[in-house]
Amino acid sequence: MSSAPDARLFDLGYRSYDGPRHPPARAILTLGVFTARRVLGLGRGALHKVLPAITLGIAFLPALASVVFAVFASEIVADDLISYGEYTFFIGSALALFASLVAPEALCPDRRTGLLGLYLAGPLDRTRYLAAKGAGVVGVMLLITVAPLLFMLLAFVVAGFGPSAGDTPLLLLRIVGSGVATALLYASLSMAVSSFTTRRAVAAVATVLLILVPVSVVRSAIESAGAPDELDLLSFPFVAANLSYRIFGETPEGDEPITHLSTGLVTAGLVAVIAVGFLVCWLRYRRIEAFR
């Protein structure tokens, strides 16, 4: 019997695998990307894409409006455009909403469905698992804290309204620095909250409450009860917005909270809140029973 010299057998079915395998650290990247895709609804039904799309739309709206105004208005007045520094303040509600969606979606279902146990039965431990989840959550949060500003910068540069070539690298650094700080703050808070419940809705509501309730409570305590001004560091949206102003070298209009605190103190407060948020999440996961 003769056979073609280049004949091959395809579809051999299940068989042993002796091909390449990634190093164990690759599992962190794989899970981080998988988490980000799931949170954004990629590879899922249309319903899962609605809320992320709406929130991203809200976050991009000021940038889009600013760019459209700059391009089509007959006379541009710099004060009419949203500055980079005040952008975080403008999208405060979108940030709170997005934070309440992202971390609960990233963390809660894994515990609810037992997927956490399957992950930990693979080449991950709890710290690596949380690192992957944290990377996924922060990565997605950057879409809302950095991407609109980058879009605005790019549009202004293309339209000829942008900064000079010499100023652009510094502005880029400021955009990234401000965005990363804000993303880390909201990610840490929402991950800490999400570590306490397997219910996404509960985690989402609790995250919004944690972000918004202290703002009015702290203000009342300072104005009515004479509490120290440093308590304003618990007004998380104002901390993020105020630090953003400072990073861009701008001054907020009016008498906003935190303005009178030093930059060092605001930065230390932000770092402390981020650290506490992630620490709470990590400590919670050390105690969570993953194996049932």
Partner: protein, 306 residues
């Protein structure tokens, strides 16, 4: 990545103790599990799942030594777990993911490149009989299909060791038979060592090469299935009548004979077959059954439990 060298003993445990507060889950467990399919048998709460979690390095033992594939799970956990496949007892899986995406994702999590993970996820799902259903969301699948998805996810990355926790839980008799056949096939054809946790004696008896019986956090019996089932030497004889006369005649010829209803249990080996033949012929009895003495796994288990 660091590769784990082959090791003759799949699992070796010496005096392993695990406590949850005041509750002792494993009380000095000693066992050696070799290649092949090993059943981890015991009642609910016997310590099977705790032992599986220690093998995976998901929990820390309080005392003793444990080696899985020659490595300590508490120190080599990540490298070790990348070469272990695990199917948990629970049936909750991400409902909106398709079976293919789920198995592929876990294969990627076990460090397979994406292309290989896609291919092997499909191959594994075809192997477990879900080839046509692989794009269906897991949430729409029956319990039997979910068990198969879990099995596929446990083997897709071609692990050296597969741990299955109650793999037939929730299955009807037909599905159970199919699942057991599948496990046996995977364990014998693809070179994977398997540890199957179960509290069903007949399942373990049917598919396993060896058995570890755990009760109260201790190993009470362990060995190959054939070894455990082999009883004392001798014969079981069943005749249609006058079993007492037969017993007396054989006793007179020097054989220990114990009457149990219409059955006679004889000890010894030398000449026992000839003696029974001659005695039955001499008394003119009808011989209904003549077989070597032996034990079922149930006998072993109940004996162990006592």
């Amino acid at each position: 990545m660091a590769t784990l060298p082959p090791h003759p003993d799949v699992v070796t445990a010496r005096g392993v103790v695990k406590r949850y507060g005041r509750t002792v889950a494993l009380a000095g467990l000693d066992v050696e599990i070799g290649p092949g399919i090993t059943g981890l048998l015991g009642s609910n709460g016997a310590g099977k799942t705790t032992f599986l979690s220690l093998m995976l390095g998901l929990r820390a033992r309080d005392e003793g030594q444990l080696a899985v594939l020659g490595h300590d799970p508490s120190t080599a956990g990540i490298e070790l777990r990348s070469r272990i496949g695990f199917a948990p007892e629970h049936h909750d899986l991400p409902s909106e993911l398709s079976a293919s995406d789920f198995v592929r994702h876990l294969a990627e999590m076990h460090l397979l490149p994406r292309r290989a993970a896609v291919q092997r996820a499909n191959d594994a799902l075809w192997l477990v009989g879900l080839g046509e259903e692989r794009f269906r969301p897991v949430g729409t699948m029956s319990t039997g299909q979910r068990q198969r998805v879990k099995l596929a996810s446990a083997i897709a990355h071609d692990p050296s060791l597969v741990l299955l926790d109650e793999p037939t839980d929730g299955l009807d008799p037909v599905q159970r038979t199919e699942m057991l056949d599948l496990i046996r096939r995977i364990g014998t054809e693809f070179g994977m060592d398997m540890v199957v946790s179960s509290h069903h004696l007949e399942e373990v008896e049917r598919i396993c090469d060896a058995v570890v019986i755990v009760e109260g956090g201790e190993v009470v019996r362990a060995g190959t299935l054939a070894g455990l089932r082999s009883g004392p030497e001798g014969l079981v004889v069943e005749v249609d009548e006058r079993v007492g006369d037969l017993a007396a005649l054989l006793a007179a010829k020097g054989f220990d004979a114990v009457v149990d209803g219409t059955t006679l249990v004889l000890g010894g080996t030398d000449g026992v077959h000839d003696a029974v033949r001659d005695a039955v012929a001499e008394l003119g009895l009808g011989l209904r059954r003549l077989e070597p003495r032996g034990r079922t796994l149930e006998d072993v288990y109940l004996g162990a439990d006592a």
